[in-house]
Amino acid sequence: MNQAADSLLAVRASGLMKRYGQVVAVDGLDLDIPSGQFFGLLGPNGSGKTSTIHMLATLIRPSGGSAKVAGHDVVRDAVKVRGEIGLVFQESALDRSLTVAENLRFAGLLHSLTPATIRERTAELLDLFGLADKTSRPVGSLSGGMRRALDIVRGMIHHPRILFLDEPTIGLDLPNRRSIWRFIDKLRARTGMTVLLTTHYLEEADSCDRIAFIKSGKLVQSGPPGQLVERLARYIVEIESRDIGALSQRLASKLGPYLKDGEVAQFRYSEEDVTPLAKLQGELGTQITALRWRRPNLNDVFLWIAEGKL
């Protein structure tokens, strides 16, 4: 790949690997993220999302492959990479014994900002995140949602070109999750920066430009969220029965592979015409307690990938 193309890419990873002893956390991952994109990295627990982010953020060394972030190699030019990125970790990076302003001053000085610039951005960002009246409060006295918001402000204070958000809303309740997303949307609208997100809440990934599903450190699927959902199926057919084990095995010859959860089996259905489903319902009669179909969503894509059926 030539230099010009590299500079348009915020992140370019090829064959990225991370091994911890015998465990392979990331297994030859290829990732291209254009500048300005809102990119979601999804996958089950332990699929290698955080290891990937930490390699891209130069905090751990790849065991193999290579990666460039903002055009700099993550191993050879680690310091330059760190100058271009912001990272919000899964867990807080704040000092609870300092106030909100003192934390941001500390973070800003660590990025060699002048005290005047720090004051300016502190006011601006706290205002944007609705924390303006908390400036001199000790961080220890803030609620979980406020601390998370402050942690994102902390990761933004130096105006990074690329922001890594590692499960930014983990452990937060719905109203707090929503407000964190409003902040992130505002930030993106204002700065046009690249955002790489990992999350477990798939509805949050709906607004991504592109998402990549990884499992066992390998890329399974990637594309715009709508396309991934379309690619999965036209409908998800859910069949409920007391004898779902035997029934779903029989139906598999007609409907293909299925996911089983308790007394419910899910099948993918790729035709727009659902009359065969209504017919099937009639045929099965009392063998089933319910048969319904609905449009798939990202959660379905996630489940089918997590179960290894895609």
Partner: protein, 269 residues
């Protein structure tokens, strides 16, 4: 050289030190207890040697003690930072990771010097700083000793994963370093084995520098034990070595890997 980040680390240390009042009060009370309780007790038994009371002999020792404890506690905030997550702010900042070690070491030394200065004011008010004090030597002694103590602290911090074993650090590092130095007795009058241990303790030479500043060299043997240049050379050498070992240790991922493992859900692997 990242000046502002360095300043940030120092500023945070000072702010935290003055905010943790009990830590500061303890740093003042601990040496005074030694001076007045232990000093008076042993002083009554030992009497005066060539016009020097045992309490006066203890002054450089307790000054050194303040710096040893102050620097150790400040250096161990590295472990606190690893546990609490503040280290994340430092490792993601755009400078080489060995600067974190340099910054933390300077911050620990600064905390030690500030505490020693506070104690010096108290000692001066109580009349324990006589006219024979060499202030130039004292300044050098404070700087060199605080840096060496910070070095000991950084070595411990670089190899410590949690503050759970803080009591062990107290018992197996801080107390031996303090007792096996010339703080409480002249090194040259110790039995051979203890003397050998004291001679291999870098802190001994810090206390000796402070003896040069406050007691001078005395024919009674109650003053400084070694030449001033030797003290300085050993302290400088040790500080540099400690800085290099701690930086080497920290530049490996393993120094903050416990945290990375917590983040990636691979704790203990």
């Amino acid at each position: 050289m990242p000046w502002r980040p360095l300043y940030a680390v120092l500023e945070r240390e000072v702010v935290r030190m003055f905010r943790q009042r009990t830590r500061l009060v303890a740093a003042m009370v601990r040496p005074l207890i030694w001076l007045f309780v232990i000093g008076a007790g042993f002083g009554a038994v030992l009497g005066r040697a060539s016009g020097l009371s045992y309490q006066q002999f203890l002054v450089p020792g307790v000054l050194g003690m303040t710096m040893l404890f102050g620097a150790m506690l400040a250096a161990l905030t590295v472990v606190y930072d690893k546990e609490s997550g503040v280290m994340r702010m430092l490792i993601i900042a755009p400078f080489a990771h060995f600067w974190i070690v340099i910054g933390k070491m300077l911050a620990a030394a600064l905390a030690a010097i500030l505490q020693a200065l506070l104690l010096l004011i108290v000692l001066a008010l109580l009349g324990y700083l006589g006219g024979e004090t060499h202030f130039g030597t004292l300044v050098i002694g404070l700087i060199a000793t605080s840096l060496a103590c910070a070095g000991i602290g950084m070595l411990v911090a670089a190899f410590t994963r949690t503050l759970d074993n803080f009591a062990a650090i107290m018992n197996f590092v801080i107390f031996p370093v303090f007792f096996l130095s010339g703080s409480l007795y002249p090194v040259n009058q110790l039995p051979a084995l203890l003397r050998a241990v004291a001679l291999s303790n870098p802190y001994t030479y810090g206390v000796d520098l402070l003896k040069h500043a406050t007691l001078g060299v005395r024919t009674s043997g109650m003053g400084a034990d070694f030449p001033l240049a030797m003290d300085l050379a050993i302290l400088a050498g040790f500080t540099l070595a400690a800085l290099m070992v701690a930086s080497w240790r920290f530049s490996r991922e393993s120094a903050y890997e416990p945290m990375i493992h917590i983040l990636t859900g691979k704790r203990g692997s």
